[in-house]
Symmetry: C3
Subunit: 140 residues, 3 copies
């Protein structure tokens, strides 16, 4: 019998970087008895992203961060929208270049992630934030 469930997850960030929360998603699925279906995540902000990336070697996150810092430099003088500081517009651009929602199949009670895949919230602002991610499950 198909059914659905929703939940809002709050994630605290301590400045720019990748924060894994795969376990929190898995725990919510378990606590709801979700077996097979589709999980969708949506981040409710325009200066943070959702990313599925390797969760083994932390250097991957370091290199990702360094690449994006070069591609979209803070304080680029061509930006007009600087109301919240010199990392404001870069955060919007990083968000546009990555994803704000993800949909992942759930199989036998587990996310259909590959061996090395983890789910990350990517905070693009340099200061701390409380971020909201909506989870939606549909299935059995």
């Amino acid at each position: 019998m198909l059914r659905q469930a929703q939940h809002e997850l709050r994630l605290a960030t301590r400045g720019r970087g990748l924060y894994e929360f795969t376990d929190q998603v898995g725990a919510w699925l378990s606590s709801n008895g979700c077996r097979d279906g589709l999980l969708t995540l949506h981040v409710r902000h325009t200066s943070a992203s959702l990313l599925i990336q390797e969760n083994a070697d932390p250097d991957v996150r370091r290199d990702l961060e360094a690449f994006f810092a070069r591609l979209v430099p803070d304080g680029d003088s061509s930006f007009v929208h600087t109301a919240e500081g010199d990392d404001d517009m870069p955060a919007h651009i990083r968000s546009a270049l990555t994803a704000v929602n993800l949909s992942i199949p759930v199989t036998h009670g587990r996310l259909a992630l590959g061996t090395w895949q983890g789910i990350y919230l990517w905070e693009h602002r340099r200061s701390s934030h409380s971020r909201s991610v909506t989870l939606h499950f549909i299935g059995e």
Copy 2:
């Protein structure tokens, strides 16, 4: 009782830029009595994107557009595929760098968007086009 609905939205663009259509999506959800579920949008073109971005300060869109124009310049002499003009291949690349489909939870009859999030069609060609976006809802 779970059910689904589909709709094809036609959006007229007047050249390159971001066109918000959050209200049209919300109106379709309301007219179908959609309460809780999952909305998916898919743009049926390879030279336009779907983007969730800030809908407050228009400078955000201006800076986004300027950044992408620098990252993927029109008329780059390395492009071979120029059949439809010097903005043809840049449009395909901008599409690859952003999203062609989005999935957003619907909660109590409203899209689970953040306060500042709007849904945009991003036209990447410089001329006017009629763009088609397929909407799919599943839920209650």
Copy 3:
């Protein structure tokens, strides 16, 4: 009556490039009698992507590949994570810049793709790989 189905597709790649598999997805939908609903694809790797792009002129794929090779060059000396070679970290970054999952409505037994849209697996590593893509359908 709503129902769901899942399948794991194995795709063999012969090094970096775009591999179309729209027909294999369509064949699976047909063999399951899927009429109207939502198809989600998820690639279970962090060095490959899913992309919807033009499937007419092969120069589009050639130009896409050349652009990403310039944007994220192999052997960039700033990368620390080089365990699997000088295309290792570029593969992770290309994956972050594109998509690892896609959701496409299905209408009257067909994917709601535009005339020129095809579904591609984008292999970002230079060597051959066997890639796994999970398909999930929900609908009628």
